[in-house]
Homo-oligomer: 400 residues x 2
């Protein structure tokens, strides 16, 4: 098999842990596989470098920031290659440039345009273990670029796709994807297999195992991902095509996102294009609006409610106040989004009504609802959100 | 003027100091100059990275070591470019690769083969300040290489030569080259101008301001170097062609090298090629033999004495013992080399005799002597070496 393994910051967070990663890579190689390893910077390193840059500038030159930030992954990649060489393996590090990862010129948030796998293929043919510095590529101008937060996952998935790898393993410090946050529900179970679309819902709802961009790319390229822990030998969670999942559970898990704030515009002026002007002014400032509801109040006036990430509320407030689009504005930070996720919903009815019944039984008021084919999301009071997660987890028998 | 400035590890040893360097670079630019800056890694950084590598291997893969070690200079180069951009200057960092520095493939001790100045020239034409990551280049295989200790000085001199710069300023934490070590002789004076050849003698005799390779390269390329402190505005020492020095002093300075050990072979076997076999066996193990004397003892047997760096004595001992070339061997770590350096010696007699007279007056026994056109070196007892330096400094009126 050709396996791409990606090790995150905590997995390479110390010299001891890098030595541990080297052993794991060696074991995979010994089992007769071809191995490409993608590494992050040692945990804390990227934040340290950012703080250095911010000493000089609140808005550091982004081209230069990329030269700075890309150095951390080079350190881990070369150290891992040194460790593997010492163990008697032929190992070679590659920078993003050497691995042929070409991106656009959007420094610090670059997108991968293409991968020239020539050097990678050549090294694999020479029976080498290739250790690629993650998170980085090169622009057509020949400058170093970085892919934004979680960029090393993206490097790994893109390389796996370009090499037509059999598997992409993403190593972190958790065992995989859980039916819900084990800190909230101690009966939470690790999920063995999950579809890309369900994983996308988990990722976008704040489950931190894997970022949405990487899952989207894996889906597009049809790459199987296994997310697992580098600290034990547990098998992890396989993220794959829906067709590959034999027994589709009705509900796969419950996600909770506390980073939500609600804005309500009461008495919205009744003129054409008002909603468009509200949301385009937020979009212009890069504020992500999530759920939206509009209704006509008892008195015939229109109310408009929507949610934004809590840390963007202050900016959203200013924009709304400048817009004078409503009679008055209400803000609520104390809301959370609870979501029931499951690909089985597509073919089963009654999933949504069970969620609403559960909330009713718990005496929790649902403020907003949004559904998709594989997800039901509800905005509720934040203080009751963990209670809601526990009740839903049990109602859908995820602890069984 | 086109000025190349190089800032060493202590000059960029903290964020505050990098900010200070940015101000100095800006001032040079404001004065109407074109500026290329070459930076070292923050002090301590390279040693830290080496210790990381040594955690995994006593002899780390050298290609990988270069990927690792080259990361420190990238950090400083990008941070300085960020600082300059924030101050309103157009500044751009370049890695060794981007600056077009091509080396041979001797990883960790690479030599510069050529510099393609296209990118540098283009950036200068765009009125940019270019900040080059020192100490590194790229091999014809496309791998990162590093130039060995003091490599950033070499980068600066080579770039100055390739760009036909008017001046190459090497910034450290000392004011320039002194007539002798000011810690030994408090009357030591900073030298204003010194020739390449004299500087080479100082460098090879352990004065740490500038390494021999950089001075040799500057001499070859005819580049004027000024070595000065980044912590004040003192003018520093100009290192230039002998022809450019109007008033050549008889003696420029006194150098002391305590890192010397003497090996004496008594009763060397009288057969042809014995000396050759002694020195070739040392050369094979990369032991630098410095001074050599051979004489015939009172009893007609031959004695052979030579010096090696003190830290190589143990290895040299083993080689000598295995060779069985002499009746018995003597070792002495307690020796030092004191040297009188001056380009004026060439045309003046009596310089050497004054050195010997001074030693006699001080009652110091001279164990070995070696002379060149511009230097007299003497091996003496280490415990008396500072006394010797003080006496010579005064005898040649260097304190005047």
């Amino acid at each position: 098999m050709l396996i791409v393994q990606k090790y995150g910051g905590t997995s390479v967070g110390s010299l001891e842990r890098i030595a541990n990663v080297a052993k794991r890579v060696a074991k995979t190689k010994d089992a007769g596989n071809q191995v490409v390893v993608v590494v992050s910077a040692m945990s804390g390193e990227t934040n340290k470098l950012i703080s250095y840059a911010e000493y000089f500038s609140k808005t550091p030159n982004r081209r230069e920031l990329d030269v700075l930030l890309s150095s951390g992954e080079r350190v881990t990649a070369s150290l891992l290659a040194i460790a593997l060489n010492e163990m008697g393996y032929k190992a070679q590090s590659m920078t993003g440039r050497q691995a042929g990862i070409y991106t656009d010129s959007a420094h610090t948030v670059a997108r991968i345009n293409s991968i020239n796998t020539e050097a990678l293929q050549k090294a694999l043919k020479e029976d080498k273990i290739v250790v690629v510095a993650g998170f980085q590529g090169i622009t057509k101008e020949g400058d170093v670029s970085t892919l934004g937060r979680g960029g090393s996952d993206l490097s790994a998935v893109a390389i796996a796709g370009a090499l037509k790898a059999d598997l992409c393993e993403i190593y972190t410090d958790v065992d995989g994807v859980y039916t819900t946050d084990p800190r909230i529900v101690k009966e939470a179970k690790k999920i063995d297999v999950i579809s890309y679309d369900e994983m996308l819902e988990f990722a976008s709802l704040g489950a931190k195992v894997l970022q949405s961009r990487s899952v989207e790319l894996a889906k597009k390229l049809g790459i199987d991902i296994v997310t697992r822990s580098s600290f034990n030998d547990n098998p992890g969670t396989l993220i794959t095509k829906e067709e590959n999942i034999m027994e589709k559970p009705l509900v796969s898990g419950i996600a909770l996102d506390k980073n939500q704030a609600r804005i309500t515009l009461r008495g919205v002026k009744d003129k054409p294009g008002i909603a468009a002007s509200i949301f385009s002014s937020l979009a212009k400032e890069n504020i992500n609006v999530d759920m939206i509801i509009q209704n006509v109040g008892h008195d015939g006036t229109t109310n408009l409610g929507f949610t934004v990430p809590e840390n963007e509320l202050e900016r959203a407030k200013k924009i709304m106040e400048a817009l004078h689009a409503a009679e008055y504005l209400e803000y609520d930070k104390n809301v959370a989004k609870v979501s029931v996720i499951g690909v089985g919903m597509k073919s089963h009815s009654g999933v949504a009504s069970k969620a609403f019944e559960t909330m009713a039984k718990e005496n929790i008021n649902i403020e907003m609802i949004s559904t998709s084919e594989i997800k039901i999301s509800m905005i509720i009071e934040e203080s009751k959100s963990e209670q809601a997660v526990r009740a839903l987890h049990s109602a859908y028998e995820l602890d069984k």
